[in-house]
Symmetry: C2
Subunit: 168 residues, 2 copies
DNA sequence: CATTTTATGTCAGCCTTGTTGACATTCCAA
DNA sequence: TTGGAATGTCAACAAGGCTGACATAAAATG
């Protein structure tokens, strides 16, 4: 039943069987639920959603980033992002400053309140990640990241790498 | 700046720094986009969504599963699932059979057409997973799954494990 | 300088997929 | 026989995607 389309006939490639691949797929599905569960609970209390979390996260990571840059990281339309940004700005979590060099651009910053929310969300998310990392050890963590990085689209990997360059 | 809340003061735990954890978080975010990108394109052509993919995937994995079981795997409300199932049944992708033992239950099966869609979607998703796995090698794959499994909520891990038991 | 392009905002409307609440039906089980 | 479980269905609503259209300001280009 299993392994019809990609029988490797090679023991060294047994991790590429359809069963192994499906296992990876389902692991991603169930793990992503866990990955978002803790922030989701916090957000729900404050009647925000994942979209707000994403915006706040990346503004925190790249203070002063422009709307356009955020759009390309998040991969949504400006209308969609705008709705989320608007509520964050109106609620005083995000500060939008007109660019000095190019006055069409808006540069986005977290306010103190915004930074507090970001900290609360990312602490919750880091706690789970830390528990998982601690449980499995550093070698597994390296493998984890290698697979994830190999699974990204090129433009997403570009953003991912760029974020690393800025801070590490 | 980095590592304020969890400075380990221990080189062996450097993979638990806030920077490393954030790296894992962002890797999850960007990789999940890639993970869903290919199926999403196929689904969009047929005017289905991810919800349909999920339903079709798990019905394929556990033919004859009940609506209630599917609900607990997917973690949505019956009304939400029902809407998706209805379109799949109406479109002839899913067969819903009244239980013989308990006639209140509906047992769900993919029709031939449903199985074709499932195959198309999972082939696309496996292709990306296979490319990533092949690129990084079996040790990384083991680590990848260890971290994901450690990150799951307990009830999700239960479902994940149960699926493995049935087929492997 | 005139024109075009870019960056952004905003309005309106639509879709999917999630939610809650209410209520009907069927039927197993105590 | 009655209570509760499994399911279906209707209605309403919200978040957060999407498209299209249009306005504005400013940069870039001819």
């Amino acid at each position: 039943m299993a392994d019809t389309s990609t029988a490797p006939g090679n023991e060294a490639l047994l991790f590429l069987t359809d069963d192994q691949l499906r296992k990876g797929i389902e692991a991603m599905f169930f793990a992503y639920r866990g990955f978002t569960a803790d922030p989701d609970r916090i957000l729900a209390e404050k009647s925000y959603g994942r979209a707000h979390h994403r915006a706040v996260h990346f503004i925190n990571r790249s203070p002063g980033t422009t709307v356009n840059n955020l759009l390309s990281i998040l991969g949504v339309t400006k209308q969609s992002l705008n709705r989320v940004l608007r509520t964050l700005i109106d609620d005083g979590l995000v500060d939008s400053r007109i660019g000095t060099k190019d006055k069409r651009e808006r540069h986005l910053f977290l306010t103190e309140t915004g930074a507090e929310l970001e900290a609360e969300l990312s602490t919750a998310q880091r706690n789970r990640m830390r528990a998982a990392f601690r449980q499995v050890g550093p070698d597994a963590v390296i493998g984890f990241r290698q697979v994830l990085e190999a699974m990204m689209d090129n433009d997403m990997r570009r953003h991912y790498t760029r974020l690393r360059e800025a801070t590490e």
